[in-house]
């Protein structure tokens, strides 16, 4: 492989993503998730109060903290820059890892590069500032650590897996349930470690161990040790984080439940807003019951990894553990799994192919399977975007399709940008506007500074909401069709209550599809 090829391709990938992000931005496409983190960054640097709540408890912490590194590029671009760099880093690590495999670089470099540039979900993850990017990275690193441990059993790899799982959970709290999903393979690893009679099947070995006190104790001790070394750090980190939330934010689950700390509260509304398109939403909900099958359908590369796989039983269970995870998550019927996470099966498939994909068949056959599966996976990426229900994914797909035709067109402002432009020309230190960034974080970040804004982190906010006349000249109201209408007190329903009960006189100054600005008289 030519020297520096990976580095050059990584830089090219970054440039590619930056151009796409710029074109999308120019076309008015911004993902609410990225805007959420942008607004928190702005609050962190500009607001005087509640630094702890913003810096400490904005969740997922790692997504926010990774964006923090890119603040010099501007609040708006920082989360996008972070996700671009993270996805590019993932590309770099994958290609470097493949150097250890028997595959020719002439095969894996183009395939992986094609995946990262042509698979729409990778592009989406890179240019939106969403947490998907960092999740892909840590999914890859976790499985790589486990596979490295299986190849060379030094505790270092387990510790690294533990650190990555901690990062994984702090990129998406739901992954805490990996503690259950990983049980089968951890148990099998223990079983393999407490060697009894390797010529027998694991089932026989297990039976033998249950009937031997010493071996039974060894098996239990080893399983417990592996569990602790893998999950102690994540669990302690979570307990500590929850304790800090309880201590400083008043609730142990503030980081999960508060719309000021976690985008998902409003993001879920945006993604699954039945009001926007009640017909399309069947895709997400109907896929839940067969989600593992659907994931396999969307990721032929993962199927290829299973076909190519040759290893021990516990290694196979490790590869399958994320499917177990999905099964566990479905035990809670209230839980709706986002389909977008099918993407994380691609890095897992790649690392599996890298470590276990060359011994079963000849390298030529393996290469063919790898190649065909990659192409099919890219195709399935397009399929996904054709059928997705998430409004922002639909918008992304539409924007990407129309990008070539809009190259020379005028710059288009997003709705929140238009509202922000209007507010910027309206407010001053004397004429303040009351905004609830639980829903209007996208507007706040586009305004660019906090001068003239009355926001929830201020101690006077509740008083002003109760009686806007005291301090606010204007109010930003979420209209009924706004997906986050129910997440904010400053919505049209409450406005009408205030108008009736508190005799609040307002004058509509400006409105868009989701927002309305009223003057308080």
């Amino acid at each position: 492989m030519p020297k520096n090829l990976t580095k050059i391709l990584t830089i090219l990938l970054i440039v590619f993503y930056v151009i796409i992000a710029w074109l999308l931005k120019r076309d008015g496409f911004e993902h609410s998730s990225g805007l959420f983190y942008s607004e928190k960054l702005m609050l962190l640097f500009q607001a005087k109060d509640n630094t702890i709540l913003t810096l400490g408890f904005t969740f997922p912490s790692l997504v926010f903290l990774s964006a923090l590194l890119f603040v010099p590029f501007g609040y708006l671009f920082a989360p996008v820059a972070a996700s671009i760099v993270i996805i590019a880093l993932l590309f770099y690590i994958i290609v470097e890892e493949f150097k250890l495999s028997k595959f020719s670089y002439k095969l894996y470099v183009p395939l992986v590069f094609a995946l990262f540039t042509l698979h729409p979900m990778f592009v989406f993850a890179a240019v939106t500032g969403r947490k998907n990017a960092i999740i892909q990275l840590f999914a890859f690193l976790i499985f790589r650590s486990f596979f490295r441990y299986f190849k060379r059993p030094v505790t270092f790899h387990l510790s690294m897996a533990s650190l990555y799982i901690t990062c994984f959970i702090f990129s998406n709290y739901d992954f805490i349930w990996l503690i259950l999903a990983f049980f089968p393979f951890i148990f099998l690893v223990s079983l393999d470690g407490v060697k009894t009679n390797n010529t027998q099947s694991p089932l026989f070995q297990y039976t033998e161990m249950l009937n031997n006190r010493s071996l039974r104790r060894k098996l239990a001790n080893r399983t417990a040790s592996l569990y602790l070394i893998i999950f102690l750090l994540p669990l302690i980190a979570v307990v500590l984080f929850r304790a800090l939330n309880a201590q400083f934010a008043g609730s142990a689950t503030y980081f999960i439940d508060s719309q000021y700390a976690n985008w998902r509260i409003s993001g879920n509304r945006i993604a699954t807003n039945l009001l926007v398109d009640p017909v399309r939403n069947n895709f997400l909900f109907q896929s839940q019951i067969i989600i593992q099958g659907f994931i396999l359908f969307l990721t032929p590369l993962f199927i290829a990894a299973l076909i190519l796989f040759k290893g021990k039983l516990y290694e196979l269970f490790t590869v399958l553990s994320m499917l177990f995870y999905y099964s566990l998550m479905l035990l809670d019927y209230k839980y709706t799994l986002s389909m977008g996470y099918f993407l994380l099966f691609i890095p897992i498939a790649l690392v599996t192919i890298c470590y276990y994909g060359t011994d079963k068949y000849s390298i030529k056959i393996s290469s063919w399977i790898f190649g065909v599966a990659t192409v099919l996976t890219i195709v399935m990426g397009f399929y996904f975007f054709r059928h997705t229900d998430a409004s922002e994914e639909i918008q992304f797909a539409q924007e990407m399709q129309s990008l070539p035709s809009k190259m020379g067109n005028e710059r288009v402002l997003s709705e929140s940008n238009i509202v922000a432009e209007y507010i910027r020309g309206l407010v001053s230190e004397q004429n303040k506007i009351l905004i609830d960034d639980a829903s209007a974080y996208d507007v706040v970040v586009h305004i660019g500074n906090l001068n003239g804004l009355i926001l929830p982190h201020e101690k006077t906010f509740v008083t002003v909401v109760e009686n806007p006349k005291v301090a606010a000249k204007y109010i930003l109201i979420a209209k009924v069709l706004n997906p986050t209408h129910n997440l904010t007190v400053l919505n049209s329903y409450n406005l009408s209550l205030m108008q009736t009960n508190k005799n609040l006189h307002t004058l509509l100054m400006f409105e868009t599809k989701n927002w309305a600005i009223y003057q308080v008289e």
């Binding site: 702890i52 030094v154 505790t155 407490v194 040790s225 980190a237 400083f248």
Partner: protein, 623 residues
């Protein structure tokens, strides 16, 4: 072969003739008398020898109580007296010189002395141990003074004789004065900064330990020397290896010691074992005397001189060493049988600048009680993870108390151990780096007895922590010079690992108390004093720090497959509180009794070392 008691024993059928040739070779190599060689290299028991001489008509004199004319003994070198085991006592009224000797039938000695003193010689029999005691007391003054002061004379900057230098005192009191003034000027801000510095320092030190453990865990499967390499070493190519065994009132362990030494896979004649006994330690001396089987070590009596420390005894022992390599074991140590051979192989493999190798230490009585389990976890992560971690980072490695293997000539060049430092091994490890040499880590374990009694443990630990403080004070006398010698990385590593260890233990109860006041009692003044973000950081640092240390403890079970200990890692915060008690005791002693050597009682365990070590070794193979 000249006539000696051994020849007569052979003639009397009390000694196997085939052993004489072997004894002769060793005696010539070491320059020892035959009897000394026979008694100290496992050929002959003292009881058997005494019985033979008494049968021959010799009555043993109590040489320690005999009248002695110093004039005659002063004309003999201690090294010679020690090698041949004789002591000129006084001139008798008949004009002859009365000489006590371990071998009264040694004609060669008689001829030698009659030529030297130009008078008839009358040799009487005396216990070789009593002669050893006498000659070291009477003629060891120069050597013992050298062992105490030679480092100070040669390299005063490295001597711990002065605990606090003037500059350090000015720094400490200056810093204290500044803090007091700042507290008066702006109490809130000063308290805030102190709080932050304390908690961040605490956390960084622990993070560094985690980092070291992770680095060390990468080397978990590395074998510096393989069994195959050891097998290829031919016995005749092995050099003489000195083992120093400094003991004090360890009479209960002497039998064990012999068995442990016997299990070493090294040619008998090339093991130069020195049992270093203090002048007033008759208990141990008598235990050696009363042995029913041949001793495989030479007894050296260290004359009294303050400070009464192990490094002083070891320095004294250096004058009598014959080995190319040297190691130290404690009396209760059970080293891996092939440890010495591994060290020889590794020294041959490594570049010349590696002058010392540290073996891993672990405990044979790990499951005795909670303390021994915690101690085992600690030692395991220390020796199996942190030291390899330090090695990989090229940071000074504080040597462990025993099982450090030196190149003898380099040890002499380095000035030996600092007798004023109560963790002379850690100090020497740093000095090795400062002098441009390196410490290696050998993949061989010595099993020791874990302290199973809390007060005994605190005594031992207070000495260790005090020693770390001494080591910090010695090497940080001139920080700029230290940086020049060991580089920034080494400097940071030294401070995080050695300085940081003592500071962490001192800070731990303060931070814990602070957290309890804040989080549980919720005293209003704490929240009034510090902004929320400071409390956030402090809480995070303490809780995360504790959690990481628990993790590091748990990590340690993997290499040796001590899975049953993993849950005990969770008790680390309690273990650390014990460390803190020891740290404050050590600090107090540093100020008031800096050179006082807190004696650790050994032999308290009820666990059989040999049986357990065998079990541990088997477990490593089978599991």
């Amino acid at each position: 072969m000249p006539i000696s008691s051994l020849d007569n024993m052979v003639s009397a059928g009390l000694f196997e003739a085939n052993k004489l040739a072997e004894i002769e070779v060793i005696a010539n190599d070491y320059g020892y008398s035959y009897v000394k060689t026979a008694l100290n290299f496992g050929f002959l028991t003292r009881k058997k020898y005494v019985a033979f001489l008494e049968r021959e008509g010799f009555s043993f004199v109590a040489v320690r109580e005999e009248e002695l004319d110093a004039y005659y003994i002063n004309q003999c070198e201690l090294l010679e007296l020690n090698a041949i085991l004789f002591a000129p006592l006084r001139k008798l009224p008949d004009g002859s010189l009365l000489v006590a000797a371990a071998d009264p039938q040694d004609d060669k000695l008689k001829t030698l002395l009659s030529i030297r003193f130009q008078m008839p010689i009358k040799i009487v029999a005396a216990s070789d141990l009593d002669i050893t005691w006498l000659i070291h007391i009477k003629r060891g003054e120069y050597f013992v003074k050298e062992s105490v002061f030679s480092l100070m004379k040669k390299d005063p900057d490295y001597s711990g004789l002065v605990t606090f230098t003037d500059r350090q005192l000015i720094f400490f009191f200056g810093l204290l004065a500044i803090i007091v003034v700042l507290l008066f000027v702006n109490f809130m801000s000063t308290a805030l900064v102190i709080n932050l510095v304390f908690s961040v320092l605490f956390f960084i030190t622990i993070l560094f330990k985690l980092y070291l453990s992770l680095k060390g865990s990468m080397a978990e499967m590395n074998e510096m020397v393989t069994k195959e390499e050891v097998a290829t070493i031919k016995d005749n190519s092995l050099p003489v290896y000195t083992i120093l065994l400094p003991v004090y009132k360890e009479d209960r362990l002497i039998r064990k010691l012999i068995w442990n030494l016997r299990s070493l896979d090294y040619p008998k004649g090339k093991l130069d074992v020195k049992l270093l006994i203090e002048e007033d330690d008759d208990k141990t001396l008598n235990a050696v005397r009363n042995l029913d089987f041949p001793a495989n070590f030479e007894t050296i009596v260290v004359p009294f001189h303050m400070p009464k420390t192990k490094p002083k005894a070891c320095n004294y022992g250096l004058f009598f060493c014959k080995g190319k390599y040297l190691t130290i074991y404690d009396a209760e140590d059970v080293p891996d049988a092939d440890q010495l051979k591994k060290c020889v192989a590794l020294f041959r493999k490594l570049p010349d600048d590696f002058v010392v190798l540290q073996g891993a230490l672990n405990y044979f009585n790990k499951n005795e009680n909670m303390l021994t389990r915690m101690f085992t976890l600690e030692y395991t992560y220390w020796f199996d993870y942190m030291l390899p971690g330090l090695l990989s980072l090229n940071v000074p490695i504080p040597l462990g108390g025993t099982s450090n293997h030196f190149k003898f000539d380099k040890l002499i060049e380095l000035g030996g151990w600092d007798p004023f430092n109560v963790t002379e091994d850690a100090d020497l490890g740093v000095r090795v780096f400062e002098k441009g040499y390196k410490v290696g880590v050998v993949n061989s374990t010595t099993f020791e007895e874990a302290n199973n009694e809390p007060f005994n443990w605190i005594r031992q630990r207070s000495r260790w922590i005090k020693g770390y403080m001494q080591t910090t004070l010695v090497h940080m006398r001139n920080p700029a010079q230290l940086i020049r010698r060991i580089g920034w990385w080494g400097f940071l590593g030294f401070n995080f690992f050695i300085t940081g260890t003592s500071i962490t233990f001192l800070l731990y109860p303060i931070l814990l108390l602070f957290l309890l006041i804040y989080a549980i009692v919720k005293l209003a003044f704490v929240t009034a004093l510090f902004p929320e973000w400071v409390l956030y950081i402090a809480t995070f640092n303490l809780v995360a720090g504790n959690a990481l240390m628990i993790y590091v403890n748990m990590l340690s079970v993997f290499k040796r497959k001590y899975y049953e200990l993993i849950l005990f890692g969770a008790l680390n915060p309690i273990y650390w509180l014990m460390h803190s008690i020891a740290a404050y005791k050590g600090l107090w002693q540093l100020i008031y009794k800096p050179f006082y050597w807190e004696k650790t009682e050994h032999g308290l365990t009820k666990v059989s070392s040999s049986a357990n070590v065998q079990q541990l070794n088997e477990a490593e193979i089978v599991v």
